[in-house]
């Protein structure tokens, strides 16, 4: 019994260290966002915030970094992409679950087959296609592709199979409801929990995306937050540590808030995404 308690203490220590490891970089970042570059260059680590946040803000916004533009563009793209992905994936899953049609099985097989292919490897063709139809620097180029989200369709189908009772659909038919109305007013409410989970993850993935926005958006007024952040690597902010830390804090803060509000659902969602019986 005594040994077990000792081992348990060891486990808590390891977990405690890992927890600190998760928090520490962000803590340094937030504190340094309030310190002047001179202070940071004297001592790069401090646990106590300072008072230079406004100076850092002036240095930051006096150059190329525009947090408002980045934030607004990211909100537009992530909201649009999430709405498209969640709604149309549920609709596609409904087509797979509720109807019997000839191509149903082949269609599902295709979805499974392409599920893992990342869009990054087809970026050259995608960029050239968008360039030809004049859709580079158009936020829709990053929103519309979300309508075909194989992974989300797969998840929605798995959730819908056991939870949607087709008798309800049949009785709605007898009551004279159209198929599309049945989907919107009966199926969607049943799917709410699954849609919420998928919405969180789609939003975060879309918010964090760098590769596609970086190649498609070349005008500064269209930059998303991650593309804006990539500007910090250039020469312009080379020695402005205070401003860089502040910019990073601004880019991370929204995610921090969302995460600590929804962490329960997010952790449950991650666990759900694993393949299990």
């Amino acid at each position: 019994m005594k040994l077990r308690r000792k081992v348990n203490i060891g486990i808590y220590i390891v977990c405690g260290i890992l927890a600190i490891l998760s928090i520490m970089p962000f803590w340094i970042m937030i504190v340094n966002a309030t310190r002047s570059t001179v202070q940071i260059q004297q001592h790069a680590v401090s646990l106590i915030p300072s008072t230079h946040i406004l100076e850092n803000w002036k240095v930051l916004t006096g150059k190329t970094f525009n947090p408002f533009t980045g934030f607004i563009n990211s909100v537009i793209i992530s909201t649009g992409a999430t709405a498209c992905a969640v709604y149309f994936s549920t609709l596609t899953a409904y087509a797979l679950v509720a109807y019997e049609w000839k191509m149903r099985q082949p269609f599902f097989t295709v979805i499974l087959a392409v599920m893992m292919i990342p869009t990054q490897v087809i970026s050259i063709g995608f960029y050239q296609f968008m360039y030809r139809i004049g859709m580079t620097n158009n936020l829709l180029a990053l929103i519309l592709p979300a309508i075909a989200a194989p992974m989300t369709v797969f998840f929605m189908r798995q959730y819908m199979l056991p939870s949607l009772n087709l008798d309800i659909v049949a009785s709605a038919r007898i009551d004279g409801a159209g198929e599309f109305r049945t989907f919107n007013s009966i199926v969607l409410p049943i799917m709410k929990p699954a849609m919420a989970t998928q919405a969180i993850f789609t939003y975060v993935i879309s918010w964090n995306a760098l590769f596609m926005p970086m190649i498609l958006l070349t005008k500064k007024e269209n930059y998303t937050m991650p593309v804006m952040v990539s500007l910090l690597k250039g020469d312009i902010y080379k020695t402005e540590y205070g401003a860089v830390y502040l910019a990073l804090t601004l880019s991370i803060l929204p995610l921090f808030i969302v995460y600590f509000l929804l962490s329960k659902y997010i952790i449950a969602g991650v666990a759900l995404g694993s393949v299990k019986e």
Binding site: P25, L91, L96
Partner: protein, 328 residues
């Protein structure tokens, strides 16, 4: 009354099949336009002379595989491919090791570790934060000569003089691999724990009755039952690793010291979008990666298909049993 073959009730005379087509139409159209077409287009560009910033016309090469040959002969591409695999391995082995250890601890029924929920929330936190921001943050944290890490190491007297992490190839690789590890071990831990929770609890009870030690239970029951999840985690992580871009691109500019952090995605980006506009070479490199990833994802495809088939067979047997029960 004889039972129907299918479980679903059908209304006679009306066919609803067309709605199946209709409702999957938006997906199909967008898939064809925004995924299939760009894939084919990328493949085609790989066989052409297409390059230049404003060029829109191109013609096929006389030697169709010239771009592929020159990519394979390109030293930077080979370095980037090796780097990608080396950095992924450096991150995945400790990541899986730690995740398995945490899983063994958290699911050990006799230990009853408390605060698991809070630990999971903290371990998963780095995964949700924008990788671009994380890369830049680590860039300033590992700054030289004055940065938090150098500061800490010096005040602990582990270092006499500040160490420049950005000029040593292995230090650069190590930091990139560490960031990946730091961002992903929490995710893997949650996946593995949920996998253990999915194992039939009777197995664990039986092991307990037979007097198996926690260690024996973990190695003889837990691990074998998790084979599919482990393979799945491995392959999805590898696919993600082969696309590694944000961290290596933004932690150190331009591939790092001696191209030590140049991954294939950074290479493709550099070929096509930063000054040289060699779309044909970039497309050829993309297609090579596409084929590698397609082969890997084929594994997951068969894995998942077999599982869903096994589930269907089990469901059918259960139905048979029920039918027999109803007949008796």
């Amino acid at each position: 009354m004889p039972l129907k073959k299918e479980g679903k009730p059908k209304i006679k005379g009306v066919s609803y099949a067309k709605y199946g087509y209709l409702f999957s139409l938006p997906f199909v159209i967008v898939f064809l336009v925004f995924m299939l077409y760009p894939t084919l287009f990328t493949a085609v560009i790989g066989f052409t002379d297409f390059k230049g910033v404003v060029a829109t016309s191109f013609k096929f090469l006389e030697q169709p595989f010239d771009n592929f040959a020159s990519i394979f002969a390109n030293k930077t591409f080979r370095t980037s491919l090796v780097n990608t695999i080396v950095i992924w391995t450096m991150n995945f082995i400790p990541q899986m090791g730690l995740a398995l250890l945490l899983t063994a601890w958290f699911t050990n029924r006799s230990r009853r570790i408390r605060g698991q929920g809070a630990f999971k929330v903290l371990f998963y936190l780095p995964n949700i934060i924008t990788a671009a921001s994380v890369a830049i943050l680590y860039g300033v944290i590992f700054a030289y000569p004055i940065g938090p890490i150098n500061d800490i190491l010096q005040s602990l007297h582990l270092l006499k003089a500040p160490f420049d992490f950005s000029t040593s190839p292995w230090a650069a690789k190590f930091v990139v691999a560490f960031i990946q590890f730091w961002q992903w071990y929490g995710y893997t831990t949650i996946i593995l724990i949920s996998g253990v929770l999915g194992i039939n609890p009777e197995l664990f009870e039986a092991a307990e009755i037979d007097g198996a030690s926690p260690r024996q239970t973990f190695f003889q029951i837990t691990l074998p039952c998790m084979r599919t999840i482990l393979i799945f985690t491995l392959i999805t992580s590898l696919i993600g690793g082969l696309n590694m871009f944000d961290i290596p691109k933004l932690y150190i500019w331009n591939g790092g010291p001696a191209n030590a952090t140049m991954t294939t995605s950074v290479f493709i980006y550099a070929q096509a979008f930063s000054g040289t506009y060699l779309y044909n070479k970039a497309a050829a490199a993309s297609m090579i990666m596409f084929v590698i990833i397609a082969i890997l994802s084929a594994f997951t495809f068969f894995l998942m298909r077999d599982r869903s088939e096994a589930r269907a067979i089990r469901a059918m047997k259960r139905m048979e049993k029920l039918k027999k029960g109803a007949a008796v």
